[in-house]
Symmetry: C2
Subunit: 290 residues, 2 copies
DNA sequence: CTGCATGCATGCGTTTTTGCATGTATTGCA
DNA sequence: TGCAATACATGCAAAAACGCATGCATGCAG
């Protein structure tokens, strides 16, 4: 029975941040997981590593020792990564990504930024499309899709679950909060061309103000105060001026997947992109669900 | 999405041994687990780490790179362990272990040897008893027990599952193999004072030669050729001169536990002993089951 | 050439790990 | 003093990791 290297890394992270939550954020897991790993490390080593204080985890001396040595291990890891990077030819050539426009504008920009920073020799092409491109014809190398299944012939990875909810601008939100009986104007997506079904009973007066086939336009309409729009929560939450209104409780919505060729899936370029992508998704999962 | 440190360690181990099975043995897990960790590492890094040959896993150059850096990390880990050892006062004082005699003689000797080597300042007392000592009265600090539950008031850890089977010396085994109708003489434990129930139909002639209340004596009887004895498989397999005979198919038998005071359970001394113990159990699990 | 041993791939059921929901304590601020 | 925010503990359900059984390929000894 030996101590796990990942548990040493966890101890180091808690020493660094002083809190479970901080370490959890750094490592991209839930803080309860951190707590359990610490407990496991303590049991394995037979040492008391942290004092549990209301304001955080206070490291004992052995914990500081572990952190110092884990830091050395971390440096070895970083050296390794540099070596591996330089060993192969630097990643270069083209890479074509396709994703729904609103996902790109409201969520993926940091991914694109980090990726182009990390791999400056890759020529990244971004195709902002709501229609599904044919990856088998190389219309794109990798795609982000909102659907319930990854597709049969392609390789895929489920990145995020998400919900929809109702959003409006601050004025309307205030009006609704103060008078639940006020008339609620809806801007509906033509694909779901009727009022959402489980409308909260607390808001009896609803009418359809307009239909629209483009979600970007609907977001603008909501900002301009034309009414309430049902949209994926990540859009409403990351659009300035919009706040959630309780008219429609959060609803399930198809997941977000990353898919690609089975052939190219394991290639260094696609793997590199996925790593950046998955990290960002893990760190922001709460943005997408109720 | 970052590479797991434990996966780096796994890659290093496979590079060292050249086979999944070798690495699995070193790390104390099943070889399929090793295969999955390697695959995961390859997917995470986007690199082909090993050529799968029929005679083993042949490392590629990036795998050798990983192994070299993981070796550095391993040295840091060893430094850490030395530091932690020396930081606290060296473990000393008394430690009393109790265990069934046959488990001690046939399986635990390497544990005792390794532990006393590692912690020369601890005075280890071994009480070889088949009766259950009262740990709450400090008759012993830690106990190995063969039972179906760890006990209520004590802390416990299930170490091993095990089976019983029928064993005899080579002469008798040969006779049975050549003539299934030969008379089979049983030496029975007084606690289960009748012929085992699911006797194989292929061996119709059985009789009871003697009863005995002590398993050590029964083992000697089997060695001397007095007949067939049902015993835990680890005993039969680790006794020179005994071989398994198919008269009685392997039967379930209570698990092996290590138990101790809840208060002392987390203490450095007991933890140190458990670590040595668990390592030895993991490496020899196959000795105990059919 | 056959039998046997070693090593690996794959599908299935179980165990372990992880995440989530709820509840408590403390701090800071109104 | 009361309310919101932060940090943690704990019980439960979902997800991931793991071990095992089976089957195939190769190498070696008889």
């Amino acid at each position: 029975m030996q101590i796990s290297w990942d548990d040493l890394k966890t101890v180091m992270s808690v020493v660094r941040h002083g809190t479970l939550s901080g370490a959890a954020q750094e490592l991209g897991v839930n803080y309860t997981t951190i707590a359990r790993r610490i407990r496991r490390a303590e049991e394995t080593l037979g040492l008391h590593l942290f004092d549990r204080l209301p304001e955080g985890y206070q490291p004992t001396e052995p914990a500081l020792n572990i952190a110092a040595h884990a830091h050395q291990m971390e440096m070895s890891e970083h050296n390794l990564m540099r070596t591996l990077q330089q060993a192969g030819p630097p990643l270069s050539g083209g890479l074509t990504l396709t994703a729904p426009p609103l996902l790109l504008t409201h969520f993926l920009m940091p991914v694109v930024e980090a990726f182009t920073d990390l791999y400056p020799n890759i020529d990244l092409t971004v195709l902002a499309r709501n229609d599904v491109l044919d990856l088998t014809r190389r219309e794109a190398d990798i795609a982000l899709r909102i659907s319930t299944s990854p597709g049969d012939t392609l390789k895929g990875l489920r990145l995020l679950e998400q919900n929809t909810a109702s959003f409006a601008n601050a004025d309307i939100a205030n009006r609704i909060a103060q008078d639940p009986d006020t008339m609620i104007n809806w801007v509906l997506y033509t694909l779901h061309a009727k009022l959402p079904s489980p409308l909260s009973k607390a808001f009896p007066n609803n009418r359809i103000r307009m239909y629209c086939d483009d979600m970007s336009t609907m977001v603008s309409a909501a900002q301009a105060g034309l009414g309430v729009v049902r949209m994926p929560m990540f859009i409403g939450r990351s659009t300035t001026g919009l706040v959630q209104v309780p008219v429609l409780p959060p609803q399930p919505y198809p997941d977000i997947w990353v898919v690609g060729h089975a052939d190219l899936w394991a290639s260094p370029k696609l793997t590199a992109f996925r790593n950046v992508l998955v990290t960002h998704c893990k760190a922001n999962r709460a943005l997408f669900v109720a």
